[in-house]
């Protein structure tokens, strides 16, 4: 699991690569909070295009990022969701809270 970030103005995009499970989640949460707290974006997008696997630990990571963005008055979206991660996100029903594309 690897996270890369790009920032344009007050928009932050986080690219997830690899497999996001409980083993990877703790470090991922720390990295995401670091990016959000240092850039204070208005919009944050998590890009799952490179993610080959996630389980409910990934849902917890997305929800934590959502709460962080909510705390600073920003918005979170999740994009390029396909394959296995899409099935997990659909089963968890988080699209009621978070924009999923």
């Amino acid at each position: 699991m690897r996270i890369r970030a790009s920032c344009a103005g007050r928009a932050l995009r986080l690219y997830f690569d690899g497999e996001l499970d409980h083993h990877a989640a703790k470090r991922a949460m720390g990295e995401i909070e670091g990016y959000i707290d240092s850039r204070l974006p208005r919009d944050c997008v998590i890009d799952l295009g490179g993610l080959t696997f996630m389980d409910s630990s990934g849902i917890a990571v997305i929800l934590k990022a959502y709460r962080r963005m909510h705390d600073i008055g920003g918005r979170l979206g999740v994009e390029r969701v396909t394959g296995q991660p899409r099935r997990v996100i659909d089963a968890a029903g988080i699209e009621r809270l978070i924009s999923i594309a």
Binding site: K26, F53, D55, A91, A92
Partner: protein
């Protein structure tokens, strides 16, 4: 269920083994020629069950996790994940969506995802003795 093949493994409750467990089960189940979605669903369920052992069954220590996968000749996959950890006081509550004792690092969606991805889920637990999770999924024949 007439057994066609069986695979057993035992490993310590280290989080690095989550990826190993789902990959091993995925490779074993592949002999039934599942679709990508079926394989992904099964690997996800294994990941959830093994993570439960690591996070909840052995919260402050490393313990043993036993994994058993049975394939029947009519295309059914039965997976059992067992631990000898702390057990679950109230199984029904533990299976409630969004319920977790793991704080905000956990989503509380593990059992919910297993239930939606597998045909059946059975959880047997004795507090202080451990938990056994048995899940079944039939692979649709593509012939």
């Amino acid at each position: 269920m007439k057994e066609k093949n069986v695979f057993k493994a035992e490993f310590p409750s280290r989080s690095a083994n989550e990826g190993f467990a789902r990959a091993a089960v995925g490779a074993f189940v592949s002999q039934l020629d599942p679709t990508m979605d079926e394989l992904g669903d099964i690997k996800t369920a294994v990941s959830e069950a093994v993570t439960n052992c690591i996070v909840h069954a052995y919260p402050d220590t490393y313990g043993s996790i036993r994994l058993k996968v049975r394939l029947s000749d009519d295309g059914e996959v039965e997976i059992t994940v067992k631990d000898r950890g702390v057990g679950i006081e109230d199984v029904e509550k533990a299976m409630t969506p969004m319920f977790t004792t793991g704080g905000d690092d956990r989503s509380g969606m593990g059992f919910t995802i297993i239930e939606s991805f597998m045909d059946s889920l059975r959880v047997k637990s004795v507090p202080g003795r451990g938990t056994a999770v048995t899940m079944k999924r039939r692979i649709a024949s593509r012939r």
